[in-house]
C-alpha cells in the first residue's frame, strides 16, 4: 500500500488549508483548485475494502474505511469543492478560503470515517468551519444568523456524541455500521443525523442560514453538510421504515414555502430540502435499487443544485439583490447565466439531464415496493420542485417583468464554473453509465424507456402549461417582499417571547417573595420588640412579692400533680 493510499483524502484539504494565508494571491488561486483535484486523485486510487485503524483510548479508531458507498460521496465532494473554488476565483478573502477548504475536507474525511468517534470529530468540524462562510458576509444579520447556525450544528454533534457513548455502552463497539432505531442510542444518532439532514421541524437552520452566507459561501455550503447527513443515514439507517414517511413529508412541505418565497436563494434552500426528502425516502426503502438511487441522486443533486445556487450567486454579485420582487428581464444583461440557470432547472427532471437518470431510480424503487401513497407524494414533490426551481426561479429572474437592471454578464470564472457544472449535468444525463458504474450496487436499471421518457415529459410539460395558465390569469402567487413563518419562529419569536415572559414572571415572583419575607421579618421584629423591648412584658423588673406568689403557685401545681398521680 502506498503512503497516499493509507491516509484519509479529506486530510489533504484540511491540512492543505493551513498554508493558504501565506501564499501570494496568484499562486493561492491555483493552489485552491489544485487541492480538490489532488483530493479527487487520492479518492480515485482508493480500493474498496481498505481499512486503516489506530488504537487510542482503548478503542479502535478506523481513520480510513473505504467502500463503494463512501467512494460516491468522496468523488462528488471533491468535484463540488473544485467547482466551488472556481466559482470563487475572484474572491480574495482568506478567511472564506480557509474555512471553505477545511469545511470541504472535513466533509470528505467524515465520509471515509469508519467509526463513530472519528465521524463525530469531522462532523463537528464541518459545522464549526462552515459558519465562517456565513459570518464572512460581515453584516449584523449574518452574525446573528451564524450564531443560530452554529448552535444547531454543534448541538447535532453533541447529540451524536451522546448517541455514540450510548451505542458503545450497548454494543461495546464504536464501529459505524448499520445502527437502526431500536435502541436509545440509535434514536439519538438518528436525531443527530436528522438535524443536519434538515428533517421536518429540524430543518429551518438551512433556509435561515444559506441565504445569509456570501455569494460564494452559499454555493459551497449547499454541497456538503446535508449530503454528508444523507450519506450517514444511508450507512447507519438503510431500510428504516420511518425514514420513508419522514422523507415524504420532507419532499412535500418545502415546495409550498418555495412557491411563496421571495428571496431566491432561500427558495433554492427550500427546494434543496425537498430534494433531500427524495434521498431520505430512498434510504428508508433500503433496497439496492433505492440506495443506488439515493447515491445517484446525491451526486447529480450536488451538481444541479450547485449550478442553480451559482446562477443566483452571479445575479446577486452583479445586481446586489436576490429577491424575486427586485429582479426580472435579466436575460438581456446576463444571457449566459440565464442559459446555465435553464440547464440547471432542466437538470432536475428532464430526460437527457442528470436529475432524470437519478431521481427516477428512487421513484421506481418506491413503486417496486408498492408504497402507493409515497409514490404519489414523490410525484407531487417533483411537480412542485420543477414548478418552483424550474419555472418560477428562471422566469422571475431572467424573464417576466423587466426590473431595469443593466449589469455586466457574470465574471469569467463564474461562467466557467457554471459552464463546467452544466456540462457535467448534461454529460451524466446523456451517459448515465458513467454515474451508474460508481454506484454502491450493480445497476440493473434503464432510465431511457419510452414509458419513462413520455411520463416524465407529460408531467413536466403539463406543469409548465399550468404555470402559464395560472400566470396568465394572475392566480400564481406574485412576488412580494415578505417573510414567511416557518419553524424558526419557535426559537426566534416564541422562544424569546416566552423567555422574556418567564423571566418577567420569575422576577415578579421574586419581588413578591422578597417583600413577603421583609414583611415577615418586620412583623417578627415588632413582636419581639413588643415582648422583649424596653416596654415589653418580658423585659419588666418584677417585685419580689409577686415572684414569691409565682413560686408558691408553681410548687402548688407540682404538689397537685403529684397528688393526682398518687390517686
Amino acid at each position: 500500500m502506498t503512503a497516499i493510499a493509507s491516509i484519509n483524502p479529506g486530510l489533504i484539504l484540511i491540512l492543505g488549508a493551513l498554508p493558504i494565508p501565506l501564499l501570494p494571491q496568484a499562486i493561492r488561486r491555483l493552489y485552491l483548485l489544485a487541492l480538490p483535484a489532488l483530493g479527487f486523485a487520492a479518492v480515485y486510487q482508493l480500493e474498496p475494502g481498505t481499512l486503516v485503524t489506530m488504537e487510542a483510548f482503548g478503542m479502535t479508531l478506523e481513520l480510513l474505511q473505504v467502500d463503494r458507498l463512501s467512494l460516491v460521496w468522496g468523488y462528488i465532494f471533491n468535484i463540488a469543492a473544485f467547482l466551488g473554488f472556481l466559482f470563487a476565483w475572484h474572491d480574495r478573502d482568506a478567511v472564506q478560503q480557509i474555512s471553505a477548504m477545511i469545511y470541504a475536507g472535513a466533509a470528505i474525511a467524515a465520509v471515509f470515517a469508519g467509526d463513530l468517534v472519528t465521524l463525530f470529530i469531522y462532523w463537528e468540524l464541518t459545522g464549526i468551519s462552515s459558519v465562517f462562510l456565513i459570518w464572512a458576509s460581515r453584516t449584523d444579520a449574518a452574525y446573528r444568523c451564524g450564531m443560530r447556525y452554529l448552535l444547531i450544528q454543534v448541538s447535532s454533534g453533541v447529540i451524536l456524541l451522546s448517541g455514540t457513548v450510548a451505542w458503545y455502552m450497548l454494543t461495546g463497539s464504536i464501529d459505524f455500521t448499520h445502527i437502526g432505531v431500536d435502541s436509545l442510542a440509535g434514536k439519538l444518532i438518528l436525531l443527530a443525523f436528522g438535524i443536519k439532514c434538515a428533517f421536518p421541524l429540524l430543518h429551518n437552520w438551512l433556509q435561515d442560514s444559506y441565504p445569509e452566507a456570501t455569494v460564494t459561501g452559499t454555493v459551497i455550503l449547499s454541497a456538503f453538510t446535508t449530503k454528508l447527513a444523507v450519506y450517514a443515514l444511508a450507512r447507519g439507517f438503510a431500510g428504516t421504515e420511518v425514514l420513508i414517511y419522514i422523507g415524504a413529508v420532507m419532499a412535500i412541505f418545502p415546495v409550498f414555502y418555495a412557491l411563496i418565497e421571495n428571496d431566491l436563494r432561500r427558495l433554492l434552500a427550500y427546494a434543496l430540502n425537498n430534494q433531500l426528502g427524495f434521498m431520505v425516502v430512498g434510504v428508508g426503502v433500503g433496497t439496492e435499487l433505492a440506495l443506488n438511487g439515493t447515491a445517484a441522486q446525491a451526486f447529480s443533486h450536488i451538481l444541479y443544485k450547485g449550478l442553480l445556487f451559482m446562477t443566483m450567486g452571479a445575479v446577486l454579485f452583479r445586481t446586489g439583490t436576490c429577491k424575486a420582487s427586485e429582479l426580472g428581464g435579466l436575460f438581456k444583461s446576463m444571457p449566459w447565466t440565464a442559459g446555465f440557470c435553464i440547464i440547471g432547472a432542466a437538470s432536475m427532471a428532464f430526460p437527457l439531464f442528470a436529475g432524470f437518470v437519478s431521481k427516477s431510480m428512487i421513484i421506481t424503487a418506491v413503486a417496486v415496493e408498492h408504497h402507493s401513497m409515497i409514490w404519489g407524494a414523490l410525484l407531487f414533490a417533483s411537480v412542485g420542485v420543477f414548478l418552483t426551481c424550474g419555472l418560477k426561479l428562471p422566469y422571475f429572474t431572467f424573464f417576466g417583468q423587466d426590473s431595469g437592471h443593466r449589469v455586466k454578464e457574470a465574471p469569467w470564472n463564474m461562467l466557467a464554473a457554471m459552464g463546467l457544472t452544466a456540462f457535467l449535468c448534461v454529460f451524466i444525463g446523456c451517459y448515465p453509465a458513467v454515474l451508474y458504474d460508481i454506484l454502491p450496487y450493480p445497476v440493473d436499471y434503464k432510465p431511457y424507456t419510452s414509458y419513462h421518457v413520455i411520463q416524465q415529459l407529460q408531467i413536466m410539460m403539463f406543469t409548465a402549461l399550468a404555470f402559464v395558465i395560472l400566470l396568465t390569469f394572475r392566480i400564481f402567487p406574485t412576488d412580494s417582499k415578505s417573510t414567511n413563518l416557518d419553524s424558526d419562529w419557535f426559537y426566534r419569536k416564541a422562544g424569546p417571547w416566552a423567555a422574556k415572559r418567564l423571566l418577567g414572571a420569575l422576577g415578579a415572583m421574586g419581588k413578591s417573595i422578597e417583600s413577603a419575607l421583609t414583611q415577615a421579618t418586620t412583623n417578627t421584629i415588632t413582636v419581639i420588640k413588643r415582648h422583649h423591648g424596653p416596654e415589653g412584658m418580658m423585659a419588666k423588673t418584677l417585685h419580689l412579692s409577686s415572684m414569691v406568689v409565682w413560686v408558691v403557685a408553681f410548687l402548688a401545681f407540682i404538689l397537685l400533680m403529684d397528688f393526682v398521680r398518687g390517686l
Binding site: F331, V383, R406, Y451, I454, Q456, F462, L485, P496
Partner: protein
Amino acid sequence: MSEERERKTDGRRSWLDDPKTVRKIVLALFVLCGVLFFADGFYEKHSHFGVEDVFGFYALYGFVMCVVLVIGAKLMRAFLMRGEDYYDRDR
C-alpha cells in the same frame, strides 16, 4: 408610461419582448402538451399501480397537482406571511 419604460430599459428590446413571440411560445407549449397527451395511446405502459393505466394519467396528475400546489401555497400565505422586517422589528 411606455416611453418611461422604454427609457428604463434603455431601448434594448429583444425578440422575447415581442408579444407575438410570447404568443408563439405559448402556442408551441399547448401543441406539445397535446401531442404528449395523445402519445399515451401509442406505447406500452409498464405500470406498477392501476391508476397509471388511466389515459394521460401523468399529464393530468402534473396539471392538477400544480394547481393544487399553487392554491395551497396561496392559502398558506394568509397565515404565514409577515413583513420583510418581521424578525428585526424588536431590535
